[in-house]
Every structure is written in C-alpha cells, then in structure tokens.
Symmetry: C2
DNA sequence: GTCTATATCCGGATAGAC
DNA sequence: GTCTATCCGGATATAGAC
C-alpha cells in the first residue's frame, strides 16, 4: 500500500494502473484484490492513511511546543513550507480531488473531512495564539497553502515553499497583529 | 471545440473520451480527427483558447478604468472572485496540469506560460497601483486565487469566492499599504 | 469531406489451477 | 492463499465506403 500511495502521488490516481502497482510491489493483482475490494477502495484507504499522518503531525505540534500556541503556529508554517519543498508533485488530497471529477466518489468524503478538520484546527490555533482575526487568518493561511501546493516550481526562481513561508509570516504579522517571531 | 472545452472542464480531460465529445457536438470521431491531430492536440488548443480569453480580460481592465491602476486592481479582484463563484469546478489550467502528471506533456508548456504571464501582469499592476511591496502582493494574490480555485464549496458557509475577495482586499490594504477603496 | 465499422490497446476485475 | 491466464469494457485512432 505504501507503494500504491507513492505511485498514485507520482503519476496520479488515474495515471497508474492496478497492474503497475502490484508489479512495483512485487506481487500480483489477485493478492491486491484480496485486501481491497476495488481500485477506488484502495484510493480511499491511501487517503485515509494520509489523513492520519496529518492528524499525527498536528498532535506533534502540541508536543513540541506545549502551551505555546504562537510557537506552534510558526512551527506549522515551517512544516507546511517544508512539505511543499523539493520535487513536490502537489497535495495528495487536492490532486485526487481534481482527478476524480465525479462528486459522489467515495474518496471525496475523506478529502472534504480532512479539509474541514484542517481549517478548524488552524482557526483554533490562530485563536489560541492571540491573533486579532483568527478566522480570517486561518482562511488566508489555508488558501495560501493550497495555492502553493498547486503552483509547483513555476514562475520565479524562488520556490513556492519559500514564497509560502514568507507570505504566511506576513499574514500572521499583519492580519493577525502578531508582529514578532515567537 | 466549445463543447470539448466544456466537457473537459466538467469531467476532466482524462474523464471524458473523444467519442463522448463528438457525440455531444453532434458529429463523429473522423471529422474531429480531420481538425485535430490527436486528443492531446485538442486539449492544447482548448487551453490556448482559454489563454487568449484571459489576455483579453486583462486588456479589458485597462479599457474599463483607463489610467487608474488602483481601480483596475480592484476590478481584477472582482473579476477573479466572480470567476470562481457558482458551481465552479476548478480552473481549466490548474485542473489540467494536475490531471496530466507527465511533465513533458505539450499542454504543460501552455499552462506554465499563462501562469508566468499572469504573475507578471499582476506584479506590474500592483506596482502601477502604488503598492508598497508589489512583488509580494502579486505573489499573495496569485496564491490566494489558486487556493480559492482549488477549494470548492467546502469548509464554511461562505463560498470561496467571497472569501477570496475579502482576503484579497485585505492583502492590498495591509501588505500593499493601500487602505482605501479605489 | 463525412460517416460506419473496425483495429488495437489498455485497465479493471475475475475464474480457476496449484 | 497465491499466481496464471483471461474476460470485458472503453478509449484512441484508422481504414474504407459513400
């Protein structure tokens, strides 16, 4: 399944076939179909695993900077910027949502839930960090991140990762009224 | 070709087949293949038409508010917000870029060029509007727009269109140092 | 030039041997 | 339970009739 996630992420869920996945994993189709009812099911479970990893990362923020929401917010920015650095091929969730144009695809439910949770998490974190307009700041951070996730290494020499970091800090400094670093 | 663009946008370039397009257009495959060498070629030409429409919209800004870059900037925000309102299924360019994971696909060249031009256009407009940090503001507006384009009607009752507009105005007010409406 | 019919291939899913 | 071989549908693209 780890190989499935990698290949889905690399080539897109519609760009890679069951056969290629099983071949890369050193097995065959039948064994895969013993564990997963269909390709859609495999996609859903891959996304759910990705979702769990996100939730764990949020818990880790609290663990790394206990009782210091400002530091947690800056750490979140750093994490997010690092996530989209390198040869980033876009967010698993966002890419899959685009590829599966059909709105009643089972994967869409997972994606929507993760996005909702992420937004709530950010808004609460911004509020705890004492930002003036936590909801607005959370929305801006979320949209900036989604935008940075989409625009890969295109315009400008500065990668989207560094751009996102710069702008995110600008957001919490100006919109949130939190001028100094934590 | 207009129907092709609509169907590509609605179902994704990989989610709709040649046959479905020709059927919807009231013709057949052979006539389509007389005009376009391949499906990829059809995709490229659809994107190029979309690009031309974007360029025309920018010219229209200058025509609507001649010599008033601030008004042009606010009008751009309004246009962008309106573009992503309604039952928005994502940006043609961004969606196609995600669907065609292969980086050396001919459509990628078109998409990259449009994005580069859009970024340059925005930066120049922000500079002419007298914003303090035009490059930063242009980057933020661009990322906000891309993010809003991706996040469809999900978290929150306020649609991404209204959210984008609110945040974009906030950006040019705080980051750009342009507090008042034009 | 426009359509019918088809060639060719690929991906998802299954049957059945071992 | 794991693999080989296969079915089936759909998609791109083409041949050839009119």
């Amino acid at each position: 399944m780890t190989t499935a996630r990698e290949m889905f992420h690399q080539h897109g869920v519609r760009g890679v076939g069951i056969e290629a996945i099983t071949e890369a994993a050193g097995t065959n189709k039948m064994t895969l179909y013993r564990h997963f009812a269909s390709k859609d099911d495999l996609i859903v479970e891959c996304l759910q695993r990705a979702a769990k990893e996100s939730y764990l990362k949020w818990d880790e923020l609290e663990r790394q900077h206990p009782g210091d929401p400002k530091a947690q917010l800056h750490a979140w920015i750093g994490n997010a910027a690092e996530c989209i650095s390198g040869d980033w091929r876009g967010c698993e969730m966002a890419n899959t949502a685009v590829e599966l144009a059909d709105d009643d695809h089972p994967a869409k439910r997972v994606i929507e839930e993760v996005k909702k949770n992420h937004r709530n998490f950010l808004a609460k974190l911004c509020a705890r960090a004492g930002l003036d307009q936590p909801e607005l700041a959370a929305d801006m951070l979320g949209l900036l991140l989604e935008g940075a996730r989409i625009s890969r290494q295109s315009e400008g020499q500065e990668g989207p990762s560094a751009r996102f970091k710069r702008m995110a800090e600008e957001v919490i400094a100006t919109v949130g009224g939190l001028g100094e670093k934590a």
